[in-house]
């Protein structure tokens, strides 16, 4: 049953950056894009078991800290080797100063 979970406050994440959010045994990455929007993806790279939260956000790309694979965090699309498998994305909404993500 999908439900909306509060992940963080809007000012917890700098623009063009991300944070890690753990909930119910799952790990997520929450992004603040340069145009002020928020997005959420699975928290770990699809190449190896590595948290994306230590990576670098450049525009709408997240670069993995281990082998520099890149994803478009808006769509989860794998953009640069060695990642080949897309990243799972989750719906996000902002209410007041809070960021919510919809998880299953």
């Amino acid at each position: 049953m999908p439900q909306w979970i509060r992940a963080c406050a809007t000012d917890d994440i700098d623009e063009e950056d991300l944070i890690r959010f753990d909930h119910a045994g799952q790990t997520y990455a929450i992004y603040h894009s340069p145009d002020g929007k928020f997005f959420a993806t699975a928290g770990k790279c699809t190449h190896e078991d590595v948290h994306l939260c230590d990576g670098l956000v450049m525009g709408h790309l997240i670069e993995c800290p281990k082998h520099n694979g890149q994803f478009d965090y808006r769509t989860g699309e794998a953009k640069r080797a060695p990642v080949c498998v897309n990243l799972k994305t989750f719906p996000v909404k902002v209410e007041g100063d809070d960021v919510f993500i919809e998880v299953a």
Partner: protein
């Protein structure tokens, strides 16, 4: 004493997977997120400047070598051209493979493809082998890029300064790749979706070498091969000299880069050729930091690292006796002292992994 099996399909690799040594979480020095974000920032300008200098010098030196061909005056031109072709291409391949040299993706890709050709590495295969080198740095049976296996084969190391083992390995592999895609061991780390690309790249390389050799025959001269191909041999010495220092004589089967990698202060010319990879512990710990920011990263984390070697010569003086000792005792390795400000080495995992290995006093 344990006998190491470096095959990617052998028992050591299987054991590393079983014990969790493969794909483990490695030690990292703590760096505040804001500082790290600043260090990771990409920029085109340093790499554009360096690439113009590199290719400009290569064109100039090759032109000088061709113009003076047949006289002894051509020798210094070819020596200089060779180092840029056969050694600077290694660091360009490396940094552009990480995608950190330039901010703009196509620039990284273009320099990566040119450098891969010059250094004789299939650009599609080696992207993946290097990813494995970062996941499992010097884990026996997992890392396909271990430069000095134990016991060290000294004759092979000396031959490597002239590119001999690499070139001998490259051509049969290129032909095999061109005929039937990646080999069995390459298929352990190259995803199937890339196999066709491996074959395509090998076909292009084969065509370029065939055309160069054809031209040399038609001119009845090795001059075309002095420009393409041979500089990978007569100019290889610098990348071997610097490359051996990266991990030579240090620990294997550990998950703390301070134990298996070496940072060496180098002269500015070597740093240009090597694109700052002399900061090797730093690079392995934080591969997202571009080459031009590695000196700053070094200043940020050096309190947590063993003291760097002061020069290439000093680093060889440290490494060479350790390699010689590994001839009779394979498990020997150098364990450098950490400064008082550093966190201790991660030894929990290593005790089990290293068995009865005895580090240097």
């Amino acid at each position: 004493m344990t006998k190491r099996d470096y095959s990617l399909l052998g028992p050591d690799g299987a054991r590393a997977v079983e014990t969790g040594l493969a794909a483990a979480e490695w030690y990292h020095t703590e760096v505040p997120r804001k500082v790290m974000k600043d260090l990771m920032q990409r920029s085109d300008s340093p790499a554009i400047r360096d690439t113009i200098i590199l290719y400009g010098c290569m064109i100039g030196f090759a032109a000088g070598g061709i113009a003076l061909w047949g006289t002894w005056w051509c020798v210094p031109f070819w020596l200089a051209y060779g180092v840029l072709y056969g050694s600077a291409s290694d660091s360009r391949w490396h940094e552009c493979g990480h995608g950190t040299a330039f901010k703009t993706a196509w620039m990284n890709n273009a320099v990566y493809e040119i450098a891969s050709f010059m250094i004789m590495r299939n650009s599609a295969t080696w992207r993946w082998s290097h990813a494995r080198h970062h996941t499992d740095t010097y884990i026996v049976g997992r890392d396909p890029e271990i430069a000095i296996m134990r016991p060290p084969a000294f004759a092979k190391l000396v031959a490597a300064f002239f590119g001999i083992p690499d070139v001998l390995a490259f051509f049969p592999r290129m032909i095999a790749n061109a005929l039937s895609g990646p080999t069995a061991d390459e298929r352990t780390f190259v995803p199937q979706s890339e196999w066709a690309k491996v074959q395509r790249v090998a076909i292009i390389y084969t065509a370029i070498y065939a055309a160069t050799i054809g031209l040399a025959f038609s001119m009845q001269s090795i001059l075309p091969l002095m420009v393409i191909g041979l500089p990978r041999m007569y100019g290889a010495w610098h990348h071997i000299m610097t490359g051996l220092l990266q991990h030579g004589g240090l620990a294997d089967n550990v998950i703390d880069h301070r134990l298996n990698s070496r940072t060496v202060y180098m002269n500015p010319v070597s740093r240009f050729i090597y694109w700052n990879m002399n900061y090797h512990v730093e690079h392995h710990m934080f591969p997202m930091v571009p080459y031009h920011a590695l000196p700053r990263l070094h200043d940020t984390i050096k309190h947590d690292l063993p003291a760097p070697n002061r020069s290439i010569a000093e680093a060889f003086r440290e490494m060479w006796p350790a390699l010689r000792r590994q001839l009779s005792y394979e498990d020997y390795f150098l364990e450098r002292a950490l400064p008082a400000s550093a966190k201790p080495y991660r030894t929990d995992f290593h005790k089990a992994a290293l068995g009865d290995a005895i580090p240097a006093e």
